[in-house]
């Protein structure tokens, strides 16, 4: 609508095509600029300013290395303890282990012991017994 007159088609306007070209050119230029700007933005992280932040981790204690117990040259004639730390309903694994190892190493004595208390508790009495009577220990942990 223009001044109350309805046009079926947009009337030819002088210089319209030239204007159209200018607009298209401007749009292309705009998009090119925008694309280049976008590219430069995409690269930004590499050029972004570096910041310094604190490491949020606490301080672990130093690790005190513990030399491992000497190994046995043979199992023959030795006593080996198999210690069950006491998870519920797992003892059968250790009795089976004793049976199989005894079959395979008949000259070795295998003794199954369950550590007293819960699996959190220490059992110095058992450790003393193993040090006195045993040559080695297999400890079973888990459920």
């Amino acid at each position: 609508m223009r001044d109350g007159i309805k046009f079926d088609k947009v009337p030819p306007i002088k210089g319209r095509d030239a204007l159209k070209k200018k607009i298209c050119g401007s749009l292309i230029a705009f998009f090119l600029t925008a694309a280049l700007f976008g590219l430069s933005q995409a690269k930004a992280p590499a050029k972004a300013p570096k910041i310094t932040v604190l490491n949020p981790m606490g301080q672990p204690p130093p690790i005190a290395l513990v030399p491992m117990a000497p190994r046995l040259d043979t199992l023959d004639g030795k006593t080996i303890y198999i210690v069950d730390v006491g998870f519920t309903d797992t003892h059968q694994l250790f009795t089976e282990m004793k049976t199989l190892l005894s079959e395979k190493y008949p000259k070795t004595t295998f003794i199954v012991k369950t550590k007293s208390g819960t699996y959190f508790d220490d059992d110095p009495k058992l450790w003393a017994e193993i040090k006195e009577k045993g040559a080695g220990m297999i400890m079973g942990v888990g459920h």
Partner: protein, 424 residues
């Protein structure tokens, strides 16, 4: 699945080359015949025969490394190498220093601002925390706590509560194969000073202080004791969604009737003290009936879901507390606790046979003569004993806005409290 746990754990204990052999998991309840096949088969990790590995572990000579003594220092640098924000955010995620949600990067400026929330010096030691009792205890300073508080979105006014929480040394993430959760309760004037919400929606995501203090505890537990890495340190098989915020809430002290002490006063603090308290447990359940004529049967019925190994907590809306006080005649938390303890019972038979945790953690103590477990073990199977072992294992907290007569129960138990005022 336990390989990373046991190898890193052995290394932390000073034996990085400790020798292990694995069998298929689980063993609990596995028949002897199957166990035998496991032992006759191969280690599922190395592919070598199990028995052969066991014997080799006993007889293969030690290497020079196996015999080493001395100390390995594990210094934590104060700062992360400078980088762009985006890269640092990615680094924090990759290092598993977050809870997976976006964090505020702890720049020196932000941490300095956080430190204004306390009179304590940045390098002052705050405490020691360990992922669970067998793991080594890590230490941390005020500044390290501040870094985690910034990450959680906390403000300086929240910092004394967060420092007090850190000072308890209690980890929010407690590693076990069960999936523990924690709870933090704030009492005293600080609740109102930092605008915590103890009323409508207190346990929901509606209040900045409730949210960020709870989250800060999780981040501290991830970072200050190194307890976050699933499969290496954290072993909770399913995890626990409560770990995101630890049910952080202030107690609704203002609506407690006379004679009903707020939690911190129960624990020996003065009413005007500001205190943070920690609880541990697993889950929470909603009771959908209001207290009515059946109150005396309702509580014992609802608490049957709680394992006899566990403590119990009643999270009561102030409206219910008012009814208990005015209508039912319970004039203190202690009186209600005593009633709950005496009236939630279990038979010795159920207690002995039905609960894995009782068998693992309680009965071994009874076998060593610990009371009352030793006596309970000798009782007839139809005899009744308390479901909750001691009144000390029952907690009652006031929380809510009084919109209805609802309450919730949790299998959570009190762990410890710490003064917030000390950290102002």
């Amino acid at each position: 699945m336990f390989k990373d746990l046991v190898t890193t754990y052995a290394a932390k204990k000073g034996m990085p080359n400790q020798r292990f052999t694995f069998v298929p998991h689980p063993i609990t309840g596995t028949p002897a015949e199957t166990c035998r096949k496991f032992l006759q088969g191969n280690d599922p990790i190395t592919g070598k025969p199990v028995l052969q590995e066991i014997v080799a572990a006993l007889t293969t000579p030690l290497s020079a490394d196996d015999k080493k003594k001395g100390f390995i220092e594990m210094p934590t640098p104060r700062l992360v190498d400078p980088d762009a924000t985006e890269n640092l955010e990615r680094l924090f995620l990759e290092k598993e220093w977050t809870d997976g949600l976006p964090i505020i990067l702890p720049t020196e400026a932000r941490v300095a601002e956080m430190l204004k929330g306390t009179s304590h010096k940045a390098d002052e030691p705050v405490g020691r925390m360990q992922a669970s009792s067998p793991h080594p205890a890590w230490t941390y300073t005020v500044e390290k706590v501040a870094a985690n508080a910034v990450m959680a979105g906390a403000k300086p006014e929240h910092f004394p509560v967060i420092l007090a929480l850190a000072a308890t040394g209690v980890p929010s993430i407690f590693t076990s194969t069960t999936s523990f959760a924690r709870m933090v309760v704030v009492n005293g004037p600080v609740r109102n000073e930092i605008k915590m919400n103890a009323k409508i929606g207190a346990l929901g995501p509606f209040n900045q202080a409730n949210s960020v203090i709870g989250r800060a505890w999780t981040l501290m537990s991830i970072n200050l004791d190194g307890g976050a890495h699933p499969g290496e340190v954290y072993m909770g098989s399913q995890g626990n969604n409560l770990m995101y915020n630890n049910m952080c809430m202030p107690e609704n002290e203002e609506e407690l009737p006379e004679g009903w002490k707020p939690l911190h006063v129960q624990k020996g603090y003065k009413p005007q003290d500001s205190v943070v308290s920690t609880f541990g447990g697993w889950g929470i359940i909603h009771a959908d009936q209001s207290f009515g004529k059946d109150f005396y049967s309702q509580i014992p019925t609802w608490l049957t879901w709680i394992s006899p190994f566990s403590p119990a907590m009643l999270l009561l809306d102030p409206t219910i507390i008012k009814q208990l006080n005015d209508r039912e005649g319970f004039k203190s938390k202690e009186q209600l606790i005593d009633w709950v303890h005496k009236n939630t019972q279990i038979t010795v038979g159920e207690w002995l046979d039905d609960f894995y945790s009782v068998q693992n953690f309680i009965l071994p103590g009874g076998r060593q003569g610990r009371e009352p477990v030793a006596s309970w073990m000798k009782m007839p199977k139809d005899a009744k004993i308390p479901r909750i072992a001691s009144p000390n294992n029952i907690s009652i907290l006031s929380v809510g806005g009084g919109t209805n007569l609802f309450w919730q129960a949790a299998d959570f138990g009190y762990i410890s409290s710490a003064s917030v005022d000390k950290w102002r």
